[in-house]
């Protein structure tokens, strides 16, 4: 029997395997040269914006109170009496003198329902 060199055997086996796999080993390993162009580019993480209030036109209120105005030291006067509703006292009609439409002296309530007219002399 013919004896083959071991080198040759290995060479043949390697060639067989390469043929069976359909290509060179180098071609079977994908090489990454660039990212796919159709893939969406990762967007950067948005930086949250902070809206600051606009500066106010007026200055903040002063924290130091203005000097107090002088206060009257006089004691308050009594409340006006015309704002207090007082009960109307019943008049003593025996003290109410007046005149009739004819100029005669009268005594009593001018709105009384009854008039007693006395024609008389003092003598």
């Amino acid at each position: 029997m013919k004896r083959y060199s071991p080198f040759l055997v290995v060479l043949l086996a390697t060639a067989f395997l390469m043929t069976a796999c359909g290509g060179t080993v180098a071609n079977s390993v994908p090489t990454v040269t660039s990212l796919p162009t159709d893939a969406p580019a990762p967007s950067p993480t948005p930086i949250p914006t902070v809206t600051l209030p606009p500066p106010t036109a007026t200055a903040p209120a002063a924290t130091v109170p203005a000097a107090a105005e002088p206060v009257a030291t006089e004691a308050p006067t009594a409340a006006p009496t015309d704002t207090v509703a007082l009960p109307t006292p019943t008049p003593d009609w025996l003290l109410v003198e007046g005149r009739s439409a004819d100029g005669l002296p009268t005594l009593g309530n001018p709105d009384a329902p009854i008039t007693v007219l006395d024609y008389s002399d003092f003598l």
Binding site: W93, E97, G103, L107, G108, I114, L123
Partner: protein, 141 residues
Amino acid sequence: MLGAEKELKETYVKSGQVMLVFNPILDHGDRSVQAHNAAECAADQNRFWPMHDVLFEFESQLYGGDVRAVIKELAQQVDMDHDQFNRCVDAQTYVERVKTQDQRRRALGIRTRPTIDVNGQLFIGPQPFNVLQTAIQPVLE
């Protein structure tokens, strides 16, 4: 007026149900004129009715002597300015007024004293209180 005047005042005038009115009758000449003039002088100081009461109470004194002096003396019982009152009496300030009022009374046909007119109902001569009350009470009810 009348003996019923005091009761009228206490029962009806004081409560405001009746108003009294006085019209002079001058039946006694100048004495009557002087008395009524004096009452009007007191009215200047809102004292007609107190003077009216005094003159009625002491009417017997008006018949004699100097009537003006008597009136001035009687007026001392009334709380008022007596100097002012005396000047008014001496000036005869209201003589014409009382005469006019007396003439109007005559024109109305009032001849008897006293004559009392209760809301148009006439009572001739002095009347007791209960008679006047018969004219007053129905009006109040």
